[in-house]
């Protein structure tokens, strides 16, 4: 759980009000987030990109097998929100909100949700 300080390309000086808000955010994120959460975040970014690409394809090229597009896109969206849920459940900052959900339980929920989701995705791909 130790917050590993991954070296950001940014300079060693800490966030200050002179910096742009986005940079502040980036630095604060890098400093305070555990690797575990960062792994999930990487997964989230990947899913988001994948979803965006599918959406663009649908708009720009064709939406012809509409059910296939919906299946693929919902797979991304669904997996994204499930992973985001997992992220907020295992985030130590939210511990008092999820009293009944331990990190292990959260992962089991995530796995179950993903299985159900992909069962429907597979059925809908056609």
């Amino acid at each position: 759980m130790a917050p590993t300080k991954t070296a950001s390309q940014a300079k060693p000086r800490t966030a200050s009000s002179q910096q742009s808000p986005v940079l502040t955010l980036w630095n604060a994120y890098n400093e305070t987030t555990s690797t575990r959460l960062k792994t999930i975040d990487a997964f989230l970014v990947f899913l988001m990109l994948s979803g965006i690409i599918q959406f663009l394809y649908c708009i720009l090229v064709t939406n012809f097998p509409f059910n296939a597009f919906l299946a693929g896109f919902s797979s991304c969206v669904g997996q994204f929100v499930l992973a985001a849920s997992l992220r907020s459940q295992v985030n130590p900052a939210n511990k008092n909100e999820f009293k009944e959900v331990s990190p292990e339980r959260a992962f089991a929920d995530f796995a179950l949700g993903s299985i159900v989701l992909h069962f429907f995705v597979y059925n809908f791909l056609g």
């Binding site: 502040t24 499930l82 997992l86 907020s88 089991a108 929920d109 179950l112 429907f120």
Partner: protein
């Protein structure tokens, strides 16, 4: 602490807990038993038979599923419905009900219990009502506690508002849908409370089942987003809300699209867009929340909030634009008719013509819910006292469902569960308050202080129901001491008393004193429960247990007389007509003809093709000469009408006739006009004063054909309309009377073929009756022979 009555003190907490859970299990099973038993009136009074109209189709489809398997059922094309169009059944139904019965059937047969599929269908609704009681118990338990849950389960188990759609034999989608509704809501509340994706997934799965089972799933589709949106607006956004809503929406929406009848609607129609919008909003809010944990500048926060608002606006605009461009279908007519009760009558008469789409009459609220309906607001108010997230849900549900129940009779069904829940919360608060033996500590606090009048003050206090008022003048100072030790248990009553008494008395001891007060209130409460049970049993047995396929009347000596005209006529059709003989009737009877007579029909209760129905309406409401070509073009061989004039059956075709006219007028406004069917005074008459259009219409002729003869020269009276029928009845040239049932309820006419000699049927008929033809047209006959 003083007690009003003594409690056993030698019980360990574990014993109490175990005993109470055992009692709960026993109570729940008894409630289930009562719920099932009270729905069996129909089977006992009549027989194990499928009721009404839609259930006959469901039954027929289930038989196909049970006999031929799931794939055959899924791909079933029914050529006999909507002749000559046919109907793709697999893609135009909610298969949940049939699939449920099919699974039960197969399981029972795998266990070597050869139960007839009909009995499964008949008893499915009572069985699921037991499950509904259980899920209502679970739901209410989340609202208050187990005792409220048990009350709610008992209420929903026997409330006529729910029984009306779930008696044995009422094999309709609602039979399982209310269970699914309550269980989905329970899972949602649970998911929201714990923030568990597991319950979110479960919500989605039951939502899927619900989508597969009933068109009313749109209620859930909009209730949950409305709840989530309200919570966000109340500033109650939490990660738990995010987890619960996102997992439900992502899986639920995808799964709902697996049902062929729903198809792409969840991403294409406006009814489903609220859920999508809230989903997007939640993502933004959650992201903003995550960013906020990293950047703690207040200015930054405000920027984020404004950006949330901007994004919301952009989203709404995009939605409007998409609707405008036609990518998202606008609201459907059924939806508009929920807001404007006159809409359907103006634009879609076919929806307005269904009796269960009419606005609810006031008495039916009392009839369906009895005392629950006036306890209900108290329960909703009680939800405001704690106002946890789940209470917000009940409040919203109560508001929305009350409105909808006022708009449409059939939506009473969605109101009933929340009324039961809220009433149970209120009622159990009342019982909690008055069963709790703890008394306010006034006498104990006062007596040690050695005041002379304290005993005198305390004794009237324990005697009157609003004890504080009596005790107040004497025990001013001491009461303040007592208030410090006052128990917190006196919830509802103390609130009421505090509201009633002036503000300076708020520090005085409040609560319930003595046993007599308690017994009075509790006696009253149990009296209400008792009358509720009596009312429910009475209403269920007298009003809601009629199969409407079989009618019952009472003989002069009080015994029951069964009127079985419908089945008599349908079996006549089944046994005396060729298997492909097309039967025309008004659409109400389409499913019954298909189910019981097994003959093709022109239109049925799946009212998907308005033009086809209007065609039948036109044939019924025009003259024989106009109707005959329509009948011939549609290969109609038999025409079936329902006529109640002899026996006083008011749901007959003459009473429905104006709807046929209106629906036909919607398609052929030039040929059919509703005012022509009224007398110049605007009356709807069938006697001598009836307008010519009315008397010439096929429906009128078929209904009253030879009716006057039955009275043997005396004045014929139509017992439904209470009007005298003309002595010389109508004549029919293009139809032959084929069958009339015992009480004349069902009359079947055979459509004549074209005359073999090429004459028109009117003159051929006249010839057969021996009337002389006019000499002006002798040529036609000669030509025909050649």
């Amino acid at each position: 602490m003083p007690l009003a009555y003594s409690l056993p003190s030698n019980l360990s907490p574990a014993t109490v807990a175990n005993t109470s859970s055992l009692l709960r299990i026993i109570a729940l099973s008894l409630i289930s038993g009562a719920a099932i038993a009270s729905r069996l009136f129909a089977v006992i009074n009549f027989e194990s038979i499928i009721h009404e109209f839609d259930p006959w189709f469901n039954y027929r489809a289930t038989k196909v599923l049970a006999e031929k398997g799931f794939y055959e059922f899924w791909n079933w094309f029914d050529p006999t419905a909507w002749y000559p169009l046919g109907r793709v059944v697999g893609g135009t139904i909610y298969p949940g009900l049939m699939a449920t019965s099919g699974v039960i059937y197969n399981v029972l047969h795998a266990l070597h219990l050869p139960v007839d599929i009909r009995n499964i269908c008949v008893l499915l609704a009572p069985g699921f009502s037991a499950l509904t009681a259980w899920s209502t118990y679970m739901f209410t338990k989340e609202m208050k506690d187990e005792s409220a849950g048990l009350l709610a389960a008992a209420f929903i188990g026997i409330a006529p508002g729910y029984i009306s759609r779930s008696v044995a034999g009422s094999y309709d989608n609602e039979a399982i849908a209310i269970f699914l509704l309550m269980f989905t809501f329970y899972c949602w509340i649970k998911a929201l409370k714990t923030g568990s994706a597991f319950f979110g997934t479960l919500t989605a799965l039951f939502y899927f089942y619900m989508v597969a089972a009933w068109g009313g799933y749109a209620f859930i589709t909009n209730m949950i987003p409305l709840h989530a949106l309200t919570l966000i607006l109340m500033g109650r956004f939490s990660s738990r809300l995010y987890v619960a809503y996102s997992s439900w929406y992502a899986i639920g929406t995808l799964s709902s699209m697996q049902v062929p009848f729903v198809g792409f609607q969840p991403v294409r129609t406006s009814e489903h867009m609220a859920a999508l919008g809230v989903f997007g909003l939640l993502q933004i809010v959650a992201f903003a929340g995550m960013v906020r944990t990293h950047v703690s500048s207040k200015q930054f926060q405000s920027i984020l909030y404004s950006s949330v608002i901007v994004i919301g606006l952009v989203g709404a605009l995009a939605f409007g634009g998409l609707t405008y461009k036609g990518w998202i279908a606008p609201w459907t007519g059924r939806f508009y008719s929920l807001w404007d009760t006159g809409y359907a009558k103006k634009y879609i008469p076919i929806i307005a013509s269904v009796s269960e789409h009419q606005p609810t009459a006031w008495p039916s609220f009392f009839m369906d819910l009895q005392f629950l309906i006036f306890i209900f607001p108290a329960g909703v108010v009680l939800c405001f006292r704690e106002l946890r997230d789940e209470h917000v849900f009940v409040i919203i549900y109560a508001l929305v469902a009350s409105y909808f129940a006022g708009v449409m009779v059939r939506l009473m069904l969605t109101l009933t569960p929340v009324v039961c829940v809220a009433a149970a919360v209120a009622f159990s608060s009342l019982l909690d308050t008055y069963l709790d033996p703890v008394e306010p500590a006034v006498s104990e606090a006062v007596v040690p202080s050695t005041e002379a009048d304290s005993a005198a003050a305390a004794s009237p206090a324990s005697g009157s129901s609003l004890g504080t008022d009596a005790a107040a003048p004497a025990t001013g100072k001491k009461a303040k001491k007592a208030a410090a030790t006052e128990s917190s248990a006196s919830g509802l009553a103390s609130g009421l008393i505090a509201a009633l008494s002036p503000s300076d008395k708020s520090s005085k001891p409040r609560g319930i004193f003595g046993l007599d007060t308690r017994s009075l209130v509790i006696f009253n409460a149990f009296g209400m429960l008792l009358f509720f049970v009596l009312h429910c049993t009475y209403v269920t047995s007298s009003a809601y247990s009629s199969p409407s396929v079989v009618l019952a009347s009472t003989n002069p000596d009080g015994s029951q007389h069964i009127i079985d005209d419908f089945r008599e006529a349908y079996y006549w059709l089944r046994q005396n007509t060729p298997e492909d003989a097309v039967v025309m009737s008004w659409w109400d009877y389409g499913y019954q003809i298909a189910g019981m007579a097994d003959r093709p029909t022109l239109v049925d209760n799946n009212t998907w093709n308005n033009t086809h129905i209007a065609t039948v309406g036109k044939a019924m409401s025009s003259t024989e000469e106009v109707a005959y070509p329509i009948l011939r073009k549609h290969d109609v061989e038999y025409v079936l009408v329902i006529f109640g004039g002899l026996i006083g059956y008011s749901g007959d075709d003459i009473n429905k006739f104006l709807w046929m006219v209106r629906i036909a007028q919607g398609v052929w406004p030039d040929e059919i006009q509703e005012p022509n069917y009224f007398t110049p005074k605007g009356e709807y008459r069938i006697d001598d004063a009836a307008p010519a259009t009315m008397k010439e219409s096929l429906m009128y002729k078929m209904s009253y054909y030879r009716f006057a003869e039955l009275f043997g020269g005396q004045q014929a009276v139509d017992r439904v309309r209470g009007q005298q029928v003309p002595k010389t009845g109508p004549t029919l040239d293009h139809l032959d009377e084929a069958f009339t049932s015992e009480n004349w309820i069902v009359r079947i006419y055979q459509v004549k073929k074209e005359d073999p000699l090429g004459r028109d049927l009117k003159s051929a008929n006249a010839f057969e009756q021996g009337k002389k033809r006019k000499k002006t047209k002798p040529l036609a006959r000669r030509k025909a022979v050649v």
